[in-house]
Amino acid sequence: MTGQLPVLQVAAPLLCAPLCVLLRSRTVAWLLFLVASLASLTCAALLAVRVDRSGTLRYAMGDWQAPYGIEFVVNGFNTPVLLLVSLSAVVVAVYSRRSVAGELAPRRVPLLYACLCLTLAGLLGLAITGDVFNAFVFLEISSLSTYTLIAMGRRRQALLAAFRYLVIGSVGAVFVLIGIGLAYAVTGTLNMGDLAQRVTGGHDNRSLQAAVVLVFVGLAVKMAVFPLHAWLPAAYAEAPSAVSTFIAATGTKVAIYVFCRFAFTVFGATLVFGAMPVGRIGLLLAALGILLGSAAACFQDDLRYLLAWSSVAQVGYIVAGVSLATTAGVSAAYLHMIMHSVTKAALFATAGLLLLRLGTVRLAALAGVGRRMPWTFAAFVVAGLGLVGVPPTAGFVSKWALVTALVEQGQWLVLAAMLSGSLLAVFYVGRVVEVAWFREPTADAEPAAAPASMVTAIWFLVLLSVSFGFDASLPAHLADAAASALLGNGGG
């Protein structure tokens, strides 16, 4: 049984998806999603423990041995991602019950859970697979289901946002596919480990370099790296609350993981960061993204757009860490991935709760809301402090690691951009706090009490963030293991 864990990890949510549609019951669909996410969390935890004990796990699909068959690989570099994605799914499952009921027409609810299951399966598959074409397939599974999820948003803008994301996401996916095709043409293999071996020595091969560029630009769309970030704000802000919480926590992070996987363990750091200027371009775009994202967040008048722009900036932080291509940098990037995922999920969940209660999250409508919903808003403030990077929140730990990594490499300009980004974060978080706590409420109608399940989910994320701030040994251990697995080229 335990030998089948890697495939169960993906299969559980994948199987639940059609069941959700077939059974057509809201409660059953929700239960299925909950069970699927709990199952994948269990699998991820078991796999993480086993990898920690005995190193790389390989699973040959249908017993077709690699490099001919499809292979799942579990190693230090993807256990954090598996854990992160499945944990987010569990939290979202708890959160979504009341949230979805409040936002969607009842007949659509089973479809939403089906798509959530598919997205979960796609993201987990993307994280676990050891085959480049299989990665593309999972990328498409997760992307297509995400487009659908976004389109379920309650405003008409959601459709437009989903359509735009669909177009640009498909263009990105095509780039990735062309890149994979080129790489296949050069090397004749699709298995990641096999590719890595055959790529060695072919650094001057123009086709291979073009393959690298195509894959990375395609992934950059999914990662929302500036200036390919434009789909993100509307997509995050218009999606149903549960969906935006889920994709804000996982979507870009998994894409960044795939980027790392390709950069370090498929094409190899010597080709990507040595022979090609990917590192420098990455740092430049990261710095620009941090500045522009933070600055744009300062001027937003809708809470969810504000959070989405902040995500653009946060992707910049992570990309900066990866682009350094040092152990410290990659470890810091992983750490920030985990910390930001928890923090931003908490923030979007809070925004969703406010949306449910107030009907809008425009800043003007939030006046005095902190006094009416003190517990909900206290969670927002704590998570917001994490976004700024105030000790002792999770954001501080990861930003500190990033600063150390940048200083180690002497990247002063990026460091300056990062510090300015943090200052701007003080501003945009402070703006929300100012509006919510210090402005007089416009209407004195007492809102109904927040649903306990949603509040539980929010506070679970907030407390997780704070506990990581006090004791970061678990995420730090995961991040270090991931960085050493990637840079040690041990995955294959």
Binding site: R164, V167, I168, F175, A210, L214, V217, C298
Partner: protein
């Protein structure tokens, strides 16, 4: 703690409380009691006490400090007598407090005590300028106070640096080794009217009240001389500073019309002799400087008293408005001439006995140029202080002033001062006994006396010839440019110009700049607002364009 300084200062606070005879008695008794206390106290340090971890010695009596303190107390007594007629208890009290600070500074055994009295001296004496209660006097007093406070701050900084360097607080020989010592010398230099630092003295002394000018002439600058003699004896730099101080005021004094200002210049000249004496150092130099300082306290007070009496009776001390006063104020005229003879170092008067020590010290060091310059300055001082002051005030053209003789108490004070001048002049050995270093010096030798008389005669001949031939600079109302123009005219003008320009600039450029800044702000933040590119949702085609541009750029960068 037995300190004459505290006796004077605390006693003086009782002056405004008393009236009539008790007040006069108190005013006169305090300096006398101070003198008694000073001379009954044994030599040596008083018990020290610790303050903030610093060991302080508030009273130290040795030959040098006792000599200066005696001089200050005598000057305080003379000034008090001179001020007896006044109905202004404030000035009487302040004179005593001021004298007390000078005595306290002199007796200070450590630098902190010195600093405290140094500042108090500046602060208390400023009231003597303000006591005139005129707008002009108020402004002069502020300028004076600022100079004094700057001096105090420099000294405090110097002391702090010394303490930091681990040199302790003891007030002994300071030298010029560290940065702290240089600051202290600069602080002393301000009070001592070193060239270019002297402007405050010329500027403010003539603005003081009648009594105030007498008191000011005695204490502040002599306290500075004492600090020099204690802390910087034998510093070569001071010789040349002193020479410059003796020479440059002569020219100003000749053309100056205000006779009290002439006296202020002559004071710098006399201080120059003392500074030069300190610079020479050694037994003779220090003896000369301190003896001359004490003699100067008396004869300079006498001259200021005489001018004060003239001011009191006629209402002016302008050379152009005075003359022929010997008919109305014969006693004052006679006493003034005693003072003039003393400052000019006529034989038998005090200046001769004390200045000779400095000249002898210079001669023994074979500093010919210095000696000649000092000789020239001696002739100059005779000319402007010895002849010009009495001549223009009491003789020259009779301007028709018919006034009463000076009040009795003034005449008594002047007579006592004159007596001391003649006493020191005729029996110099009494004075020499008190000097800090033992020495054998006889001023009345034939060559010395003849030399001095020659000098004086020729100088008076020159004055006579110039006046007779009409070549002497006429006594006209004028303003003579001195270093004080820097802060009295240039700095205020500059400030005035700036303060006019800045509001105008703000008025004329402010709105456009504000407008421009607002436009710039909205232009730069416009793209970041949710309703404008690029922060608004992008159209699909531009997203794809950007993806293609990115791909193309990265491909180019990679493959080229």
């Amino acid at each position: 703690m037995t300190s004459p300084a505290l006796l004077l200062m605390f006693g003086a606070t009782g002056v405004p409380l008393a009236r009539g005879m008790p007040r006069r008695a108190l005013v006169l008794l305090l300096p006398v009691a101070g003198l008694l206390m000073l001379w009954l106290s044994p030599e040596g340090d008083s018990a020290g006490f610790a303050l903030f971890g610093l060991e302080l010695i508030p009273v130290r009596i040795d030959a040098l400090s006792r000599l200066f303190a005696t001089g200050f107390l005598i000057a305080a007594l003379l000034t008090s007598i001179y001020a007896l007629h006044m109905r202004d208890p404030l000035q009487q009290a302040i004179v005593l407090i001021y004298a007390g600070t000078a005595v306290g500074g002199t007796l200070a055994g450590d630098l902190v005590t010195l600093f405290v009295f140094w500042e108090l001296a500046g602060l208390s004496s400023a009231f003597l300028i303000w006591a005139g209660r005129t707008e002009r006097g108020y402004r002069a007093g502020m300028r004076y106070l600022i100079a004094q406070l700057i001096s105090g701050l420099l000294m405090l900084a110097g002391i702090a640096l010394r303490v930091q360097a681990g040199e302790g607080l003891e007030f002994g020989y300071l030298g010029l080794d560290g940065p702290g010592d240089a600051l202290i010398l600069l602080a002393v230099g301000i009070k001592c009217a070193f060239p270019l630092l002297h402007a405050w003295l010329i500027d403010t002394y003539p603005e003081a009240t009648i009594v105030g000018a007498v008191a000011l002439s005695a204490f502040t600058t002599k306290l500075a001389i004492y600090v020099l003699a204690r802390g910087f004896p034998g510093t070569d730099l001071l010789i040349w500073v002193g020479v410059a101080m003796t020479v440059f005021p002569i020219f100003y004094a000749v053309i100056e019309n205000d006779l009290r200002r002439v006296l202020a210049y002559s004071m710098i000249n006399q201080l120059g002799f003392m500074v030069a004496g300190v610079g020479i150092g050694g037994a003779l130099g220090i003896n000369g400087a301190s003896a001359h300082a004490v003699a100067d306290m008396v004869f300079k007070s006498l001259l200021f008293m005489a001018m004060g009496a003239v001011l009191l009776r006629t209402g002016t001390v302008k050379g152009s408005e005075l003359g022929g006063l010997y008919k109305s104020m014969p006693q004052t005229a006679a006493l003034c001439m005693v003072g003039a003879a003393s400052i000019s170092a006529f034989p038998l008067f005090s200046g001769f006995a004390t200045k000779s020590l400095i000249m002898e010290a210079v001669a023994q060091e074979h500093l010919t140029v210095v000696w000649l310059l000092l000789l020239f300055a001696s002739a100059g001082v005779f000319h402007h202080a010895g002849i010009k002051i009495p001549y223009f005030a009491f003789f020259a053209h009779d301007r028709g002033h018919r006034v009463a003789e000076a009040p009795l108490n003034m005449r008594v004070a002047m007579a006592m001062a004159a007596l001391i001048c003649v006493g020191i002049g005729t029996a110099p050995n009494l004075m020499y006994e008190l000097l800090p270093h033992a020495m054998h010096y006889a001023p009345y030798t034939t060559p010395h006396v003849i030399n001095q008389l020659q000098l004086l005669l020729l100088a008076s001949m020159a004055f006579t010839m110039l006046v007779r031939t009409g070549l002497y600079p006429p006594e006209i109302r004028s303003v003579n440019l001195d270093a004080d123009v820097v802060y009295r005219r240039m700095l205020p003008r500059t400030w005035g110009a700036l303060s006019r320009t800045v509001p105008r600039l703000r008025r004329e450029l402010g709105p456009p700049i504000h407008h421009l800044a607002a436009n710039l702000w909205s232009a730069t933040t416009r793209p970041l607002r949710p309703d404008a590119k690029p922060a608004s949702p992008w159209p699909t085609h531009s997203m794809v364009w950007w993806a293609v541009i990115m791909l193309g750029t990265v491909l180019l960068l990679t493959l080229l």
